[in-house]
C-alpha cells in the first residue's frame, strides 16, 4: 500500500513539473517575441542616426579632397592655384589638427561593425524564439509528455513564422556556384 502512495506521489510530482515546463516555456516564448521587437526598435532608432553621422563626416572629408584635386588641376595647367589652396588650407589644418590622417576608412569600418552587431542581435533574438519553440513543440509530441500536453490542451507554438514552401526551399543551378565579389 505504501508503495502505491509513493508511486502516486512521484506521478503527481512528474505531472506538475511537466505542466510547469509547458506553462513556463509559453511565457518564455512570449518574452522572446518581445525581445525581437525590442531589438528591431533599437535597430530602427540606431541605424538612420548612424547613417546620417557617417554621411556628414564623409561629406566633410570629400569636400577637402575635392578642393585639393581642384587645386592640383589648376597647378597642372600652369595656372595660379594659390587662391584654391588658401581656400582649402584652413580646412586642411583643422582636419590635420583634429585627425592626424583622414579617417573615412575607420568611420566606415565602425559603421560596418555596428551594422553587423545590430543584425546579429536581431538574429540571436530570433534564434532564442526558434529554440524555445522547438523545445516546447518537441516535448509536446514526445511520449510520455504528450499525455500531459493533451490533458491540459497545450497547442503547438508557432514560433518564428516562415512559409514552409516556396522559392527558398529550392536552389537553382546558378545559385550552387560560390558568388564572386567584384568591387
Amino acid at each position: 500500500m505504501i508503495y502505491l502512495y509513493i508511486a502516486l506521489g512521484v506521478l503527481v510530482i512528474w505531472v506538475i513539473s511537466t505542466y510547469n515546463f509547458f506553462a513556463s516555456s509559453k511565457a518564455r516564448i512570449k518574452a522572446s517575441i518581445q525581445e525581437i521587437g525590442n531589438q528591431l526598435k533599437r535597430q530602427a532608432d540606431l541605424i538612420p542616426n548612424l547613417e546620417n553621422s557617417v554621411k556628414g563626416y564623409l561629406k566633410h572629408e570629400s569636400g577637402i579632397l575635392e578642393m585639393l584635386a581642384d587645386a592640383r588641376k589648376l597647378a597642372a595647367r600652369g595656372q595660379d592655384a594659390s587662391a584654391k589652396i588658401s581656400e582649402v588650407l584652413p580646412k586642411l589644418t583643422i582636419a590635420v589638427e583634429d585627425n592626424p590622417e583622414l579617417k573615412g576608412n575607420t568611420v566606415v569600418t565602425n559603421l560596418m561593425d555596428e551594422l553587423r552587431d545590430t543584425s546579429d542581435k536581431v538574429m540571436y533574438a530570433r534564434r532564442l524564439l526558434i529554440d524555445l519553440t522547438a523545445d516546447f513543440n518537441v516535448k509536446r509530441v514526445s511520449f510520455p509528455f504528450s499525455i500531459v500536453a493533451g490533458i491540459f490542451g497545450f497547442a503547438e507554438m508557432k514560433g518564428f513564422e516562415t512559409p514552409e514552401s516556396g522559392e527558398f526551399t529550392k536552389v537553382s543551378e546558378s545559385e550552387t556556384k560560390s558568388p564572386k565579389v567584384s568591387l
Binding site: 531589438q39 561593425d113 552587431d117 546579429d120 538574429m123 533574438a125 534564434r127 532564442l128 529554440d131 524555445l132
Partner: protein, 307 residues
C-alpha cells in the same frame, strides 16, 4: 554528418552515464572504507563517524570555493572587468550570444596575457563570470570569438561549475577517508590480530580501496571534465550554428604554444583549452586519462561532423 540535436542528446546521455558511474563508485568506496575502518578499529558505527567528519571537511572546503568561485578565480588570475569601450568586440559578442541563449548577461573580465584562452565560472547563470585573455581577443575574429564565448556560456547554462564542485566534494571525501584509513592503520598495526573471517576480507578490501580509489575517483573526475568539454562544444554550436568558427578558433588557440601564467591546476578545467601547453607532447591514450580536456584533434573531428 550528425545534426546538432542528436549530438547534444548523445552528449547528455554519455555525461549522465559517467556521472552516475562516478557516484556509484564513490559511494562504494566510501562504504567499503567506512566499514573496513569500523571493523578494523573494533567498533562498527565508528566508520560512519569518519564519513561524517570527512564529508564535512571535504564539503565545506569545496562549498567555499564553489560559492566564491567567481571571486577566487578572478583574484588568482588577476583579471580586470571588461568595459564596452576598450573591449567592444568582447562585450558585444557576449551580449549577443546571451540574447541567443536566453541567459542573463554574465560579468565579463579580461586577463592581460598574450596566451589566447578563456574560461567561465560562477555558481549559477545569475552569478556567472566569463573571462578572456587579451591574446584571445586580439587573435580571433568575430565569428571565432563567438564560437569560444558560446562554448563558455554553455558551461554556464549546463551548470558545469556546480557539477564539477559536487564531483570534487566526492573526490575529496574518498581521498580523505583513504588517507585516514592508511595512516591510522600504520599506527595501530598490532590490533589487527583480532579480526577474523569475513572481517579480514573487509579490511583487505579496505586496504585495496584505500590505495586505489583516490586515483580512480580522480580519473573519473577528469573523464567527466572531458565529457563536459564535448558538451560545451556542441552546445556552443547550438547557439552560433557556425562550427567553422569554433574549429578555426580551437586550431588557432592550440597552435599558440605560450603558457598561460594566470592558470593553475585548480582552475585548469574551466578554460576552453587546457592552459598547460606541455600536454600536447603526450598523445598516448594513457596520457589523455590525466587531462582535463579531450585532445584537440578529437574535439575538432566532433565539430566537423556537425558542419
Amino acid at each position: 554528418m550528425k545534426n546538432i540535436y542528436e549530438v547534444q542528446q548523445n552528449n547528455k546521455i554519455r555525461s549522465f552515464v559517467v556521472v552516475a558511474f562516478f557516484l556509484a563508485f564513490s559511494f562504494l568506496a566510501v562504504y567499503i572504507l567506512a566499514s573496513a575502518s569500523g571493523v578494523y578499529f573494533g567498533y562498527e558505527p565508528g566508520g560512519l563517524g569518519f564519513v561524517g567528519i570527512a564529508l564535512i571537511i571535504s564539503g565545506v572546503s569545496t562549498f567555499v570555493s564553489y560559492y566564491f568561485s567567481d571571486k577566487i578565480v578572478l583574484g588568482i588570475s588577476g583579471a580586470r572587468p571588461a568595459n564596452s569601450k576598450e573591449d567592444k568586440l568582447f562585450t558585444s559578442v557576449a551580449d549577443n550570444l546571451c540574447i541567443g541563449a536566453g541567459l542573463p548577461k554574465p560579468k565579463l573580465y579580461v586577463i592581460e596575457d598574450s596566451a589566447p584562452n578563456a574560461f567561465a565560472t560562477g555558481r549559477d547563470p545569475k552569478h556567472a563570470v566569463v573571462c578572456a585573455t587579451t591574446g584571445l581577443l586580439s587573435k580571433l575574429n568575430r565569428t571565432e570569438l563567438e564560437g569560444v564565448i558560446a562554448h563558455e556560456l554553455t558551461h554556464v547554462k549546463n551548470y558545469d561549475i556546480r557539477l564539477m564542485s559536487l564531483v570534487s566534494v566526492m573526490v575529496g571525501l574518498v581521498a580523505l577517508l583513504a588517507d585516514w584509513f592508511l595512516r591510522m592503520g600504520m599506527r595501530t598495526r598490532g590490533n589487527s590480530d583480532e579480526s577474523k573471517g569475513a572481517n579480514t576480507i573487509i579490511v583487505l578490501l579496505g586496504v585495496i580501496f584505500a590505495i586505489l580509489s583516490p586515483i580512480i575517483a580522480q580519473l573519473i573526475q577528469l573523464a567527466i571534465s572531458r565529457r563536459r568539454e564535448f558538451m560545451a562544444d556542441a552546445g556552443g554550436i547550438g547557439i552560433t550554428r557556425q562550427p567553422q568558427g569554433l574549429i578555426t578558433a580551437l586550431t588557432k588557440i592550440s597552435a599558440d604554444h605560450e603558457p598561460l601564467e594566470a592558470a593553475n591546476k585548480a582552475t585548469a578545467h574551466l578554460y576552453i583549452v587546457s592552459p598547460f601547453k606541455g600536454d600536447h607532447r603526450f598523445v598516448s591514450k594513457m596520457a589523455n586519462l590525466f587531462n582535463t580536456h579531450p585532445p584537440m584533434p578529437e574535439r575538432i573531428a566532433a565539430l566537423q561532423k556537425m558542419l
